[in-house]
Symmetry: none
Subunit: 225 residues, 2 copies
DNA sequence: AATTTTTTTATGTATTTCTTAAGAAAATAT
DNA sequence: ATATTTTCTTAAGAAATACATAAAAAAATT
């Protein structure tokens, strides 16, 4: 995650950089606006923290300029704390507005909240999904239930992932075939899926009549959540 | 835009409602969490403003529960203003955290900022229809009446959806066959549909003589609304 | 070759859908 | 207004369909 920090007060910029680095973010730090804009144009930035009072350009103008081209979240970090300042800031395209003096950890929480939302929508789909006591990690192909490892076969894992990815929505058997086998193997009978579902429920100690996780939607398909 | 407001302090909830209405939003106001959750489940909400200290459930728990199923922005509005409170709030899935006492216009600006971001990323194809106390969601194949789950068979669901989709218009029996079975099974007698209608009315506690929902248009078909 | 995974097949059960038929309500005809 | 026809409502049972489960066969991995 690449984050741009712009503040003419060196100490503030440095402090923010320190905290962001601690969280594992890649920080691009600037004490003026022009340089920062160049960076934003060239790098693919994920978030910006802007001061309003900059030596060269106004932070709000900068905010507007960014919005003409980019959609990543912008947090205004500034000493201007009157209500009207906040309102104009937020109206100009900023996503959050934090006033100085500020609590670094709160700022970090706000950064994370903004990035989380940004990620969930930019279809940089998360590779981790949790629901109740279930958590699935697609990267290392792991599935935990009540913090205990569930050993799933590839197909079982894929089905569970598909269901969780579409939390709440019903997935038909046809959709499962499309997603898991492609259109090629369209001959397969639906009973195959049913068996996989049964195995999943078995391993998850879930029942068909009173399901905690995978519930059947009669005549339609299966859903979770 | 539908916004849920939950606060056990009546004055605050009313104040927020007033401002939101001024901005043209449709407000669902609650003084406790349970009722609010029911509303969130049945309506397709676009944003929620939550207090933390609620009489029945904790606002943070509520936040988590919402996040299990929904992605709309959540703003915490609360008197708990220590840094750790803000951080946990934002970590739990909230998108913004405003402390009391608050400036109403600033809150409005934050609401707008959140909705702006939400809208730019979500391509809302609403698969949800509401009519009176009835709400049908095609995605999760759920139908709620007075916030209570109606368990419908696939055909019943399809018929009800078809009627709601064409709210106000009469649907003939032939049209129903076309939509539900395709032209193939055109031999079926219309009595089949009539029976489904009866079952629907039964489950919806609706009567034929004085219908609240599905009304018969003599010699033509059925309609809703 | 042995093991694991996936699919098929078969069976019992539950649910849904359709048919049938009788009675009520509405429209039309007498 | 009364009788007749048409259409709708209601009920109950038969037929069809979908699901859960189990066990065995086929395929893929190891």
């Amino acid at each position: 995650m690449k984050i741009v920090v712009v503040d003419d007060e060196k100490e503030i910029a440095d402090l923010v950089e320190l905290y962001l680095n601690n969280e594992g973010y890649q920080v691009f730090k600037f004490y003026n606006g022009i340089e920062a804009m160049k960076c934003i144009e060239s790098q693919s930035i994920d978030l910006a923290i802007l001061d309003i009072m900059l030596p060269d350009i106004n932070g709000l103008t900068m905010c507007q300029k960014i919005r003409e081209k980019f959609q990543f979240p912008i947090i205004m970090l500034t000493a201007k704390e009157t209500e009207i300042d906040k309102i104009t800031g937020l109206t100009m395209g900023a996503d959050d507005y934090v006033t100085k003096p500020f609590r670094p950890l709160e700022l970090m929480a706000r950064v994370k909240a903004q990035l989380r939302r940004y990620k969930t929508f930019t279809h940089q789909k998360s590779n981790m999904i949790t629901f109740k006591a279930l958590s699935i990690d697609k990267d290392n192909h792991q599935c935990l239930l009540n913090n205990q490892l569930l050993s799933l076969t590839p197909t079982e894992f894929s089905i569970l992932w598909l269901l969780c990815e579409n939390k709440g929505k019903v997935i038909t058997v046809d959709q499962m075939f499309q997603e898991l086998w492609g259109e090629k193997y369209y001959t397969n009978s639906s009973s195959s899926i049913m068996v996989h579902i049964r195995h999943l429920r078995e391993k998850m100690h879930d029942s068909a009549e009173n399901p905690e996780y995978i519930q059947t939607v009669w005549g339609v398909g299966y859903k979770i959540g």
